[in-house]
């Protein structure tokens, strides 16, 4: 268990959040996660870091500074990601969960991470 587990556990307890993952931003390798069985954590982690990184480069190229949040909405769920160049924190949420609540919980969890 990593020092990040309590924060991830708290995030995963947010209503509508199914999984919380902390990922190495550079390598896309999973650092720690709280998630249900059956979720392909490594794949979700790698894709979340990749999407966040690519969004960051796009935003930077457009002269808009650093990306602060990326959200992907799909038929069966939402992926919400925050982070920086070192770590990425991702939440997988139910499609009908509160967008505002998920984002708030994710940002609070990010601030609470021991770094």
């Amino acid at each position: 268990m990593t020092p990040f587990r309590p924060v991830l556990t708290g995030l995963a307890r947010t209503r509508g959040v199914r999984a919380a993952l902390l990922v190495d931003a550079r390598d896309g390798v999973l650092v720690d996660a709280v998630l249900p069985t059956g979720l392909r954590a490594d794949a979700v982690a790698a894709l979340a870091a990749s999407v966040f990184g690519k969004a960051g480069r796009s935003v930077s190229a457009a002269g808009d500074g650093h990306v602060t949040l990326v959200e992907i909405e799909a038929e069966a769920g939402r992926l919400v990601v925050v982070g920086d160049v070192v770590l990425v924190l991702a939440a997988v949420a139910d499609p009908r969960s509160s967008v505002a609540l998920t984002r708030l919980a994710l940002r609070q969890a990010w601030e609470a991470l021991p770094r």
Binding site: R26, D27, V29, D42, A43, A46, A49, G53
Partner: protein
């Protein structure tokens, strides 16, 4: 341009290549026999890479058994300009090795995720397990000839 010795491996490898944008990749048997390659121009480069990849896999396996009781499944090296990732993949014709070379800013996690998909695809491929070649050197030469054209030496 990707060249394959075993036709059934072509489609999964192309999908992997397109998804990951690796600079080079090799699919080989643990004895060093190449089955497919992309991004390594010369036969000598392919031969060297296969021999080294097979040796690294064997050494990593021995090290894993020594420290962990079971072989290490994959090896990752991060250099200043490039990274490589070497992993074992089961297939219908027996165990295979995948060597992928990618840039320093590439994502290891993404590569591993797509390698898992490739692992599933290759496990279903090939009709029957390949018997160890009676003459390994001839088998290696035939593979290279298939990839690069020309008669085996």
């Amino acid at each position: 341009m990707m060249r394959v010795v075993e036709a059934w491996a072509g489609a999964p490898l192309r999908q992997f290549r397109e998804a990951t944008h690796v600079e080079a990749l090799l699919l080989l048997r643990p004895d060093g026999q190449v089955l497919a390659q992309d991004g390594l121009g010369r036969p000598s480069a392919v031969m060297s890479a296969c021999a080294l990849a097979a040796a690294i896999h064997a050494a990593a396996g021995a090290l894993g058994r020594s420290v962990d009781g079971q072989p290490f499944r994959e090896v990752h090296y991060a250099g200043a300009r490039r990274q490589f990732y070497l992993t074992a993949l089961p297939s219908g014709t027996g165990p295979l090795l995948l060597l992928a070379v990618f840039g320093a800013d590439g994502s290891l996690g993404l590569l591993r995720a797509y390698a898992d998909e490739l692992r599933v695809a290759l496990a279903q491929g090939g009709a029957t397990p390949a018997a160890p070649p009676a003459d390994l050197e001839q088998a290696l030469d035939r593979s290279l000839a298939t990839l690069f054209g020309g008669a085996p030496r």
